[in-house]
């Protein structure tokens, strides 16, 4: 009987061990990706982010890696692929604040590609993203540092959203 208890406890420990190992590997991969991004080795960073999505999609780095994939395509000026990735990100995480950054990207891409109907669609989604009340302050903001080490600042106003990238205005979505 004792033997069975020991075997069972070992098995249970093994089950617990696997995600611990995963979390650890995901950390390592994330650090590698960020390190590559910091050294402007964007292709290596992209591969590491992709590995995180392939091997550790449910780790805490999953959403951030997915956002970074969209960012990579945008940096590479592959706007259709960037648009697809940000759209997937928005569909998967509609409640995350980063989803509004993805929407701002989608709006900017539609603007660059001269797609007015798409612009209207994303403008409408951005307007419906949150319901906000401004009693004493006329804006609210949200900050996010991405896998490619962009420091984003999203500023909500009553009738528009502004997205800053490294303190520079990246795009404005009016509604």
């Amino acid at each position: 009987m004792k033997q069975y208890v020991i075997i069972l406890s070992l098995l249970l420990q093994g089950c617990w061990w696997v995600p611990c190992v995963e979390a650890s590997d995901a950390d390592v991969k994330w650090n590698e990706a960020v390190s590559s991004a910091k050294q402007a080795e964007y292709d290596f960073a992209f591969m590491d982010f992709n590995t995180i999505l392939e091997l550790y999609p449910h780790s805490r780095y999953g959403p951030a890696a997915e956002f970074a994939i969209g960012e990579y395509y945008f940096l590479e000026n592959n706007l259709p692929m960037a648009s697809d990735e940000f759209l997937d990100f928005y569909a998967k995480y509609p409640q995350h604040e980063e989803a509004l950054i993805a929407l701002a990207y989608l709006y900017k891409i539609a603007q660059t590609r001269h797609l007015p109907e798409e612009m209207k669609k994303y403008r409408k989604k951005a307007a419906s993203f949150r319901q906000l009340t401004f009693i004493f302050n006329n804006n609210k903001y949200f900050k996010y540092r991405s896998g490619f080490q962009h420091r984003y600042k999203l500023v909500y106003y009553i009738d528009k959203v502004e997205l800053y990238d490294n303190n520079k205005l990246f795009t404005e979505v009016p509604f």
Binding site: S128, F136, N137
Partner: protein, 619 residues
Amino acid sequence: MIITSYLRRSLFKWKYAILIILMVSALLAALTFQVNRWLPDYAQSFSSLIAQQSQAQISFRTVHYRFPGYIILKNVAVIENGQKNPLLKANKVVLGFSFPLFSSAFPLNSINVDGMTINYPAMKGYLTQHYKMIYAWAETLPKGKMHFLAPNGRIFLADLAQAQAIPFNFDLDLHQDHINVHGAYGNKERSNFELKGLVNNTGIDLEKLTLDNGRSSMNLWGSWVGNNVEWKGFIFYNKIYILDIDGQLRIQKKAIILKQLTFTVNGDAVGASGQCLNQRLFQCDADIAYWRKADPVDPGNNLKNINLHLHAQNTAQGPLLNGTVDLGFLEPDPYFAVQNLHLDFSGLKARIINGNFLVLKIKQLQNVFLAQSNNHQVLLENILASFNLAKPFQKIITLSAEILGGHYHDRISLDTSFHPWQVKSQGNFDGIKAYQGQLSGNFEALLSKSLELSGHIALHQGDLNNTYFQTWLVHMLQMPSLSHVNGTDLSCRFKIEGRSRILDDIKLRSDDLDLNGFFHLDADDLVSSQASIQFSKNLLKESPIGRQIIGLVRGAWTFPIEFSLSGNVHKMNFQWDNSLLKDKVRQHMFSLFENMVDQRMNARLNYNVTIPNESVDPE
């Protein structure tokens, strides 16, 4: 010598030839003279015989024979017995005969009527009365070859002296059972027509009936066998495509029954059935249905289907029409538009004045419609509508009616010269009982591909209960008694263009409320609005935030609250704009407390959504 001899012999031959020619000419002249002497008397007696049989007198100024087989009548007129005005007149009628020696068929083989003038009302009356006799007479005619030509004809649709004539011509060929007619009619817009068919003992097989004026065309085919008429075809009319026409009609002794008529209009399906009495076409019942094609949906027009039932009867005062109309809509607009509409009308009378004005009188028109998920009933009484039909593609309609204790007047112009049709309307209304008060206003509307409506509306001493704006304000400020506001004076200018709505110069006054502002909603449901609102002391006290403001600012209810709205209409963002009251409140608050108020308000509005973190950094 040889030449002299030749000339003598030739002269001899010529002498004989000339002699023969002279003799034949004399013979023909004698024959023609004799025929021409005898012909008027014969024609006169033949005409009298026809008059007895056909109830119509044929008169002419001259008649003469022309070799080899033609009889020419000039200034011919056909007058129905007992009538003064001729049914038909012609400058010249040439009847062509083939001699029995060369043809065994009926000797008359061609008729050429030049300058035919038809008096349509008289002709219609004559044919309606004597069509059976004419048909029986036509049946007795031998089936031979006949060519009927009518160049330079004119038809008078009304009285000969007054109406303008429509020119026409046709060329008709009858050969055995085959009939082939083609021709043209019309003044400015000349239309060509062609009819091909096979006439037999049981009826007619119509191979082809076409009508074409370059801009529009019609193609029909079918049959008339016994009492059953069937037809199929298609019509192109001014960019309107009427396709898949399929009709079945049964002509009974007393009634004409439309068993079915189906077709599509630019892809939208139409179906009809009904019946009317033979002798009184206005004694009828009809069901007409229209279904709009599902795809693609036009955002400016969400009509789904129309069902129309009509019952007409003849009365001593003329035809009287009762009926119902049901309209259904696709994707009903939740804010303003009607979701479905049922119209029940009775006592509709129609009259045409001077050929140019159609006057409609409707005793009662009951409207039942569903809007904003509420059923509404509106009764219109003593409706008077007059249509100016003078221009072929432009109709001017003036409409007046009594409605909900008030009066409504409208002037509508309808332009059908292009597709989609354009309707312009200018109307006003006053004294209408609505929302427990009195409603008045004016409007201009333009309906073509989409609706554009603008105007001014005013409600005097009305009660506003649970409107969209009230519900939002009650939730926002927690003022329950705002759900019902009595004794309200409300006025605003409005403009609706497709799916966008604009309300400007909004003025809303009641004992507890004073609001001024504007509210714009675009086609994507995005709001842009600014307003100032002032509450009574009692109302302000109801709200937790109002109580706090009263605690901070003395006489806070005497200051208006300025605010802006923006974003999606279902999730409007709110901003308290800078104002004297806001400055006074701010003087008493710390910055930290201001942030707390903002966060609390957001927490209450963002259902099931967390407040954004200041920073989310995966590192």
